[in-house]
Symmetry: C2
Subunit: 626 residues, 2 copies
């Protein structure tokens, strides 16, 4: 068994409460490496085609990565995957915090959960002791209460709990999984998959050491990383202002998603900035395992008429924009409350905010009436309405029941031209980045296997900076910075290489704020870290190929489930000009964009329908995917 | 300018004696890296399609590699390239010795020679002083005399001379280029290209230091290499017995090319073995720049009736077999003489031996008569006839004139079914490895851009050894040893990855006896060496991509010159069973073989006609090749 891994995967069948420990062997680890690699493997190998994502045939996989738990900044993450109830295709979402390293310390690389429990349960893992416990008394509780109850019941207030809230129980199609109440596997509705299985939570406590091949080398890299990490401007900014530190710059750049992506500049941007958080509601900085950045915010409001509980963390950039400019809310307290509510109910802030903005635009255009909206005056900027809708969505009450299925399904039911206000790809709502000012992110939205997802490649704006490109991604074969609006084959090439790198980082359990090009850990130090952790004589070549492998596997999974090249598209609005701000008048040129997608297929060794060639699959050692 | 390179390329137009120094800039070096990379670049960019390889429009490029001259074992090599007069396609051949490092020490990474001199000339390069000198008095001289004359004329008996002999002057289509009389750029007829330009030789003397980015790191890797190098079984064997140390094992394996590839076992094998050389005619071991292996033999025979001059080195494995078992000659003295004559005349020993064996089989089958053969009784095993034919070929006398065009052209002229005795691919004669016992070498023959060439991937027999595969090529993503006769997609995948690695090693100026998997220098130490030499933040990913880039460039060049998928074939004889030896009855399964070629195309991102896709070319940054 390679170092760095534990060599054990837990398999739990909830239908018959069967718990097994599987030992997949080194070839499995070397080919799939963790995270997305594990998930694609299990979904392709074990799920029949065409199953109902919310039925007992679906499986949900919790997968740590090759570097999860290595005591180096930015390596705390794990991924959860299943067939997505939101997209109907490959579903995956990652989270930071402490839960992933804790699972490894308990002695496991991942958990495969199948079947459906006849009654609500939670799983408790304490080293070699794995229990399926009754959760009837916890079911229906919000996440905070549930965490308190489980910790009390287990008599351990340090146990790490990944759980769903009422949103997941109610099968909201974008329900999330939260650990420590604030680190979210946010997207793709994986919380609903847990809910469909009557699985409330997975509590983990581990006391073992993760074995590393070369601890001295890890220490050496750790020291180097710590030396440079807090000097790096992005790290400093993340520490000072959190991810919302980006709001003002993005607004100045003219691409802050505003009023459901109609605009790129929001006049209330300053009020929803990281600076505003820091100056008002911030109580402390928080972070993840072994990471000094502490980019997470913990905010608190204790007014009698308006409380925000500090235990639910604070809003990230995505949340700030989804409930802020997207809904034209210029009030950080309301956003903080929306964030707290989403974490309490266990629903994804991005899709929730986007669903509300969609409904607002429908209302503005007379497509939804006040009657349809349970009497709510759903105008852009109406804070009370936003908070009410969050609750309705989580509880699937009234209009919330419609919106809980996501904007694509809602628009289909509503009709009347509402489709054009649904900002989704493959059924998943866009993240809070407007690709009209960074077209590579648009390619990422269109091509991500999980539907619109901003975690596919680093932002074009970053990659336009000569210093960052030349100094950091040269090992990837990228040595030329490119304009954020460049849509030439050069951008596609940059996209292809970075997508493989980011795909590997995902498999590794690494946060994108760590390694270059977004972070400052040199690419080759990540490679050296994998070598030191696993003891493998590995290279960037092998790691990039592993990244490429999982991209192809997820693609094959989606093709099998009926998602084709026709789904690699963007909402029409993005081909229409921005209506204000620095990029006023700018749209993504449609023909060029789809030409770029077509070049992407060709670069990937896929045919013009986006289907991987036999040769490409064989080259990636994926004979079983043909 | 990156370290390791000098940043200067000499361009000489022989038509008007114009000498220029070009400074291509770092992007050129990073994309093309040297050797095959430089050559493919110049041929594609500067040669019009369809030119006569022996006309003044052809150019000949002398290219050092990224590591040429780094003081580490096995890094002395340089490549010469042009449109090949033998294949009509991409022409290239590499040599070791000291000439390549000397060119770098003179301050240059390569030389591009164009046009045609009105009279015989040679080029003399001494650091910044570059002269085109009259060679009328040297023209027609054999290589030994020419070297003496040039050294005397320059007053420098250490000057390194790469030159052609009478074979090149006479435009033998497989004339070679020799440095120090014994290190041959043997294949593809590049000596004829020099001859067609009236260029006899390039003498080089350099006194500068090659700048390295991190000399300490190079020293550290050097020490490590030296520590392991002479302990490695292959290195020891090469030192003791030279490349002919392989004869007995290959014969025992049943794949020693015998009687023009009709047989795989030669009863006289012991007499033509490396052991026999060591016990009889070996005078000393020689080698290349900075390399302790000293795998080169210097042999000598001083009998009055039979002399072999020690200055011409000694026969390599390829030469031993081409004049030995292939012609059924079991006499090492004759082989040594044949080697000396080929080096004296400047013709390729592989194609010369193969051309003679071809004529022998034609004679045996009554297709060529004694009359056709200038009265020579050209039976297999006739030593005198072999030596006579070498002279006739070099001088283009009688039957030699026909055979000097290579067996493919000769068979075309002869007709009468002689084609089946021409063991060629794309017009170039097979090297002395029978792919019926190592099918990957057959793929290499069929797919090499230079025609039948054994320097495309390491031998299947090596890659069947678990220790070697698992321990050494893991960074390339290859972790499973495969049977030498395996022709499945797994073998194709191994082939694709190793071809890219070997293509890079070629670009680097590295001998395949150095790095893994054939040598013992770990793959990742080669990567570290490129980093230490150039100062680039590079990776195995980038180096493999560079290898892939040049494979695609050479492919595009060949397609442009009319070599297509229909030329990616093997001689029919290889699909017929071996007639004796351990593999008696074994043939390459034809359908499986061409299916493997077809999978290769698909893995490469080429269409079923072997044409690289637009996406693949763009991915490799080769927009100008579309």
């Amino acid at each position: 068994m390679p170092y760095g891994f534990l060599g054990k995967i837990i398999r739990i069948n909830l239908t018959d409460s069967m718990v097994k420990i599987e030992k997949p062997g080194e070839a499995f680890y070397r080919a799939y490496m963790g995270g997305k690699g594990f998930i694609t493997y299990y979904l392709l190998k074990e799920l029949p085609a065409g199953i109902n994502p919310l039925g007992p045939e679906n499986k949900i996989i919790f997968a740590t990565g090759i570097l999860t738990g290595v005591p180096i900044p930015a390596m705390p993450r794990f991924a959860v995957g299943a067939k997505s109830p939101l997209t109907g295709g490959y579903g995956q979402s990652e989270a930071g915090g402490y839960w992933g390293p804790e699972l490894k310390r308990a002695g496991y690389d991942g958990i495969v959960i199948e079947g459906k429990s006849p009654k609500p349960v939670y799983i408790n893992i304490k080293d070699d002791d794995i229990q399926i416990r009754d959760a009837s008394h916890i079911w229906g509780k919000d996440t905070g209460e549930a965490q308190d109850l489980i910790r009390a019941e287990l008599g351990d207030d340090k146990v790490r709990i990944a759980q769903i809230g009422p949103g997941g129980e109610n099968l909201v199609r974008y329900a999330c999984i939260l650990n420590e109440l604030k680190h979210a596997n946010g997207r793709n509705g994986l919380g609903a998959v847990m809910g469909s299985k009557n699985l409330k939570a997975i509590a983990v406590r581990g006391t073992k050491d993760i074995p590393f091949a070369d601890g001295d080398k890890i220490k050496e890299i750790r020291k180097k990383c710590l030396d440079i990490y807090m000097e790096y401007p992005l790290s400093r900014s993340l520490y000072e202002l959190g991810t919302s530190g980006l709001v003002k710059a993005i607004n100045a750049g003219g691409i802050l998603p505003t009023k459901n992506f109609k605009y790129g500049e929001f006049e209330g941007a300053d009020k929803i900035s990281g600076e505003t958080i820091a100056q008002t509601i911030l109580k402390r900085r928080e972070g993840c395992y072994a990471c000094p950045i502490r980019c997470k915010r913990a905010v608190q409001i204790e007014r009698e008429d308006f409380r925000v509980d500090i235990n639910y963390g604070g809003p990230e950039y995505e949340t700030v924009v989804a409930f802020g400019s997207l809904c034209e809310i210029a009030d950080m307290e309301v956003i903080a409350k929306a964030n707290e509510m989403c974490n309490r109910y266990g629903i994804d802030t991005i899709s929730t905010g986007s669903s509300i903005a969609f409904a607002m635009e429908c209302y503005e255009n007379g497509i939804l009436t006040k009657e349809d909206l349970d009497g709510i005056e759903l105008t852009f900027g109406n804070s009370d309405a936003v908070l009410k809708l969050i609750e309705k969505i989580a509880k699937r009450e009234g209009i919330g029941n419609l919106l809980a299925d996501g904007t694509a399904r809602a628009a289909q039911k509503i009709g009347k031209g509402s489709e054009k206000y649904s900002m989704n790809v493959k059924g998943q709502e866009l993240a809070m980045h407007d690709p009209r000012g960074k077209v590579g992110i648009g390619m990422g939205y269109a091509l991500s296997e999980t539907g619109a997802d901003h975690m596919v490649v680093p932002h074009d704006t970053l990659l336009a900076q000569e210093g960052i490109v030349v100094d950091s991604v040269a090992p990837l074969g990228i040595t030329e910075p490119l304009d954020p609006l460049d849509l030439s084959w050069k951008k596609v090439r940059m996209f292809v290489y970075l997508q493989q790198w980011w795909s590997f980082l995902n498999m590794a359990g690494v946060c994108d704020f760590g390694p270059a090009p977004r972070g400052c850990i040199p690419v080759m130090d990540v490679v050296n870290l994998v070598r030191a952790t696993t003891g493998w004589d590995t290279s960037l070549w092998e790691l990039m190929k592993a990244g490429e492998r999982t991209i192809n596997m997820a693609r094959i999974y989606n093709l099998r489930e009926g998602l084709t090249a026709e789904d690699d598209i963007l909402p029409e609005r993005l081909f229409e000009p921005l209506l204000n701000g620095r990029l006023k008048g700018t749209a993504i040129p449609k023909d060029e964009f789809y030409e770029a997608i077509s070049i992407y297929y060709s670069m990937m060794g896929w045919n013009d329908k986006g289907v991987p060639s036999k040769g490409k699959l064989l080259e990636l050692n994926l004979e079983y995917c043909i």
